[in-house]
């Protein structure tokens, strides 16, 4: 080995080390930034959760505020769960009833109509589908007032049914499922027809089983929209005992404006279920929302 070769290999080693150092440096900045982002995302949740375990005195104490509760107490939860004016189980039922009914209705109609639009030809199909896509552009606030007047006419306001009967159509769902069903080969349907299946039989026995994961994702999204919905339930459900959880949260907080610990405990109770659903089914949810990016 000549001296120049040794010098060259040493130079290469130095360059390699430099590159490594730079890489580690840039990696660590990336992770630091991402972790700071995570902190910003998570701190409001943690702050709320911790505040719900603080005593009232501790929260309103102007001088000694700490992040973690100094006197850990479950008193706030106890107050909420034993409040006779707040039958919490009833409100959980209301929210769940509306969300689950809508999930069942919309899963059925969206898959059926998605199937029809994907696999059949009929007159005015393009026009009809174009109109369905166009409805996604109309803001809900425009049709909100007449929709309310229709419900009023049918005496469906202040009833849970009022939030279910009008929602068996979802343009986004039809669009999403049509896209997916288009990729199912026609031969499968023809084979079923030769075996003597009726068209409803094909929908039920051939199409629906194929839809599994997509339908699960869609159902999950419908569930979340309905569980978190605020404006429309606020308009339709005016009696206290038919209300859903988000409306009850604001109603309760307006009655306890000074007691922040109580407010935070109430929000934890109301936000928690959906977060647990999300954390356990995280992959489906994220995929669903990614698909919905093409909405509109």
């Amino acid at each position: 080995m000549t001296t120049t070769e040794i010098a060259q290999s040493r130079e290469a080693a130095v360059a390699r080390r430099k590159r490594l150092v730079r890489q580690i440096f840039s990696r660590s900045t990336v992770y630091t930034v991402l972790l700071i982002g995570c902190l910003v995302t998570v701190i409001p949740f943690v702050w709320t959760l911790l505040a719900s375990f603080k005593t009232h005195e501790e929260i309103i104490n102007p001088t000694h505020q700490t992040f973690f509760p100094r006197h850990f107490t479950t008193e706030n939860y106890h107050t909420i769960l034993t409040d006779p004016t707040l039958p919490l189980a009833r409100f959980y039922f209301n929210s769940a009833f509306i969300a689950i009914s809508n999930v069942i209705l919309l899963s059925f109609t969206s898959s059926l109509w998605g199937f029809v639009f994907a696999k059949y030809n009929f007159r005015f199909k393009r026009l009809l589908f174009g109109y369905i896509l166009a409805t996604m552009m109309i803001p809900f606030q425009v049709t909100m007032i007449p929709s309310y007047l229709i419900l009023l006419k049918f005496d469906l306001t202040n009833k849970l049914l009022g939030l279910v009967v009008l929602s068996w159509f979802d343009a986004f769902g039809i669009f999403l499922l049509r896209q997916f069903i288009s990729s199912i080969p026609d031969e499968l349907l023809d084979a079923a027809r030769i075996d003597g299946a009726t068209e409803w039989g094909i929908y039920w026995r051939v199409i629906l089983p194929q839809l599994g994961p997509v339908l699960a994702t869609y159902a999950l999204m419908v569930f979340m929209w309905n569980w978190n919905a605020y404006l429309w339930p606020l308009i339709v459900l005016r009696d206290v005992n038919v209300r859903t959880l988000p409306i009850i949260l604001t109603w309760y907080n307006n009655r306890h404006t000074s007691d922040l610990g109580l407010q935070m405990a109430a929000s934890v109770l109301i936000v928690m279920p959906i977060l647990l659903v999300y954390l356990s089914l995280q992959r489906y949810v994220v995929r669903g929302f990614t698909l919905s990016g093409f909405k509109g």
Binding site: Y31, V33, L34, T41, P44, F45, W47, T48, A51, I60, P62, Q65, L112, V116, F122, L128, I132, T135, M137, I138, P139, F140, Q141, V142, T143, I145, P146, Y148, I150, K153, L166, F169, T198, W200, M224, W227, N228, Y230, L231, I235, P246, L249, T250, L260, Q263, M264, S267, I270, V271, Y278, L279, Q282, R283, V286, F289, T290, G293, F294, K295, G296
Partner: protein, 406 residues
């Protein structure tokens, strides 16, 4: 019969008759190998006529003696429909089965679109030209006319040049909405784009973890978000003011004081924007991550081989390829921020100040329609919102008419 709203019942009868007639009759027609579309039309007509006639007769004849008559009258459509189904003659030609399926499944859809989409939309437009309130007794058609007079373009004129309190509230809410959307959009993109690129660059195993955390606020109910941030921005006990005090600055009454301004925007607006941004950014983030994954790795490799630094690759390769996605998400973000309601209603309810500093259009629509029962005025505002959304969507269409390929 004065205890029963006859008009409502007539609507019930008609709708049930139309639904049953138009969805079952095609099946029967199809079974007998006749054209199901004819079946749907005939069924619709027979169903509605029968429902109205027999519903009215049942109510008229039986209601005084038996309260169940009201329920029974809903079945009036069956009186003529069942004989119709029975009497459809068989035809020997085959092959209508598919059309039967299509028409019996599409008829309910058309029924829904007519009654719950086209009709309310037209009604919303008509309402904007009337001084309508559901409390007042109006004319026979939709309660319009008489005490709910036609006012023509008066609502729009008032919005544009009016000096009444209503008009000032609307103009203020429009300004606030536009300000809100104009601040949200660039901030949202400035956060989500680099963050998406960073997440895309980390180890494959860690990606889902970061994505899951960043997505948490999106699935949280917006009321919950508003309550949490309301506490953080709380004037006396909030986390933010504690931090300000700790750094020796004067605390701010974020949500109550109309005079304080942060960087030229009202403090309350600032607080609302932070809360909204915090809830919303995860949504665009995952869309950008998905778009980044679709970019062929070979393009980035080619740039890297040519000696481009990671920042250069991002700026000159990735970003141009993301352009369509950025465009679409920008429009969606903008439209949804035009429609902001939940967070503002809970955190500030449009305040502070008499002409609210965070009052937005949807909040004005809600208050006017359902608190003050000025539905005509509210419908006119909703129409303006609709035009705004339409303009943004059309602009997007126009900008996206070229197709990108890579």
């Amino acid at each position: 019969m004065d205890t029963i709203d006859l008009q409502a019942y007539m609507l019930y009868w008609g709708m049930i008759g139309a639904l049953v007639g138009a969805s079952v009759t095609p099946l029967v027609y199809d079974r007998r190998h006749r054209n199901p579309w004819t079946g749907a039309l005939i069924g619709l007509f027979v169903g509605v006529v029968s429902a109205e006639a027999f519903g009215w007769l049942t109510l008229r004849l039986l209601l005084e003696r038996w309260s169940g008559a009201a329920l029974l009258s809903l079945l009036g459509c069956l009186v003529l429909l069942i004989p119709l189904w029975w009497s459809v003659p068989e035809r020997s030609r085959k092959g209508f089965q598919q059309r039967g399926f299509v028409s019996s499944s599409i008829s309910p859809l058309m029924f829904y679109l007519l009654t719950m989409s086209i009709f309310p939309f037209l009604w919303a437009i008509i309402l904007a030209f009337f001084d309508y309130s559901p409390r007042r007794v109006g004319g026979p058609i939709l309660g319009l006319g008489e005490d709910n007079p036609f006012v023509g373009l008066a609502h729009f004129q008032e919005m544009w040049v009016g000096h009444t309190r209503n008009a000032r509230m609307f103009q203020n809410s429009m300004n606030n909405t536009l300000l809100f959307a104009m601040i949200i959009l660039p901030l949202n993109l400035a956060i989500t784009l680099p963050l998406a690129a960073l997440i895309e660059s980390v180890h494959e195993r860690l990606k889902p973890l970061f994505r899951a955390v960043y997505f948490l606020p999106v699935v949280t109910s917006s009321v919950g978000v508003a309550v949490m941030w309301g506490y953080i921005f709380h004037a006396q006990y909030g986390l933010l003011n504690q931090a300000l005090k700790a750094f020796g600055m004067t605390p701010i009454a974020w949500l109550q004081d109309p005079r304080v301004e942060i960087l030229g925007i009202p403090a309350a607006m600032f607080a609302v924007i932070v809360a909204y941004l915090w809830q919303d950014f995860g949504y665009n983030l995952i869309i950008f991550i998905a778009a980044l994954q679709n970019i062929p790795i070979s393009l980035k490799d080619a740039a890297r081989v040519d000696g481009a630094s990671p920042a250069q690759v991002f700026l000159h390769v990735t970003l141009p390829l993301l352009r369509p996605t950025i465009m679409v998400t920008s429009v969606l973000t903008m439209i949804s921020s035009f429609q902001v309601f939940d967070i503002i209603q809970v955190m500030t309810n449009g305040g502070p100040g008499r002409i609210g500093k965070t009052d937005v259009v949807v909040l004005e629509i809600y208050k006017n329609a359902f608190r003050y029962e000025r539905m005509g005025w509210a419908a006119a505002m909703a129409l303006v919102l609709f035009v705004l959304v339409l303009l943004v969507t059309t602009a997007q269409r126009w900008l996206l008419r070229t197709t990108w390929e890579y």
